[in-house]
């Protein structure tokens, strides 16, 4: 793999890690519950993109499946949290 591609992949990994840190900050110190849920949403999307980038780094397609799984479960989790805030219970 050419050196320029390795450097750009590493830089993208660092940027996505900083994005994950911002989402984690909003999830941990959010003033209200909905802020924490928005932080969680941003966190899992950044983690999914980090896994896609890491899959390019290692040249393996396995990370793609993990990224798809994170997207699915993150969507279900966020909708469950939002439904809980809206109605007081998840499954009525």
């Amino acid at each position: 793999m050419s050196t320029a591609l390795v450097w750009s992949i590493d830089a993208a990994l660092v940027l996505l890690g900083l994005a994950m840190a911002c989402g984690a900050f909003r999830m941990l110190w959010g003033p209200r519950a909905q802020d924490r849920i928005v932080g969680f949403d941003s966190l899992y999307v950044s983690a999914m993109l980090l896994l896609l980038t890491f899959g390019i780094r290692t040249g393996s397609m396995l990370y793609f499946e993990a990224a798809l799984m994170i997207a699915l479960l993150g969507f279900v989790g966020t909708v469950a949290f939002a439904k809980f805030l809206l109605r007081g219970e998840v499954i009525e």
């Binding site: 793999m1 050419s2 320029a4 591609l5 750009s8 992949i9 830089a11 993208a12 990994l13 940027l15 996505l16 900083l18 994005a19 994950m20 911002c22 989402g23 900050f25 909003r26 209200r32 519950a33 909905q34 802020d35 849920i37 928005v38 932080g39 949403d41 941003s42 999307v45 950044s46 999914m48 993109l49 896609l52 980038t53 899959g55 390019i56 290692t58 040249g59 397609m61 793609f64 990224a67 798809l68 997207a71 699915l72 969507f75 966020t78 909708v79 949290f81 939002a82 439904k83 805030l85 809206l86």
Partner: protein, 128 residues
């Protein structure tokens, strides 16, 4: 990763630019999550990452694996489509929940009825 020395220059440049661009756009969205003041402003910021960031990084992955192998790899379209479909659903439910909570507690900048409501010009206020 030993068999990738013969990658074409164009695909390397495209992959690198799309990766850096997508990661930077995602970081800008997450920084907006830190800097904006109210929840209703903050809910908009991470969608930068879910639309353009995901599109750029998935396109980079498609270009890289397509030039690495012998046939086009298009799995990442699944990620783009799924994230594009699910993000509006999630944020609509979440903002509706936040609006309900703010109205219930009479908090924030949320009008109860009439007042500064955005529906004022659309729906006639029955008390007027």
């Amino acid at each position: 990763m030993n068999g990738a020395q013969e990658l074409p220059v164009l695909s390397v440049i495209l992959t690198a630019v799309l990766l850096i661009g997508g990661a930077a756009i995602t970081l800008f969205g997450a920084l907006g999550l830190l800097r904006l003041r109210t929840f209703y402003e903050r809910a908009h910021a991470p969608t930068l990452g879910t639309t353009l960031g995901t599109g750029c990084i998935a396109a980079a992955s498609m270009i890289y694996f397509s030039t690495l192998g012998t046939w086009p790899v298009l799995h990442e379209v699944l990620v783009i489509g799924f994230v594009t479909v699910t993000t509006p659903v999630t944020l609509t439910i979440l903002v509706r929940a936040a609006l309900l909570r703010d109205r219930f507690e009479n908090a924030g900048d949320v009008a109860q009825n009439g007042g500064r409501s955005s529906l004022k010009g659309i729906r006639p206020n029955p008390s007027e």
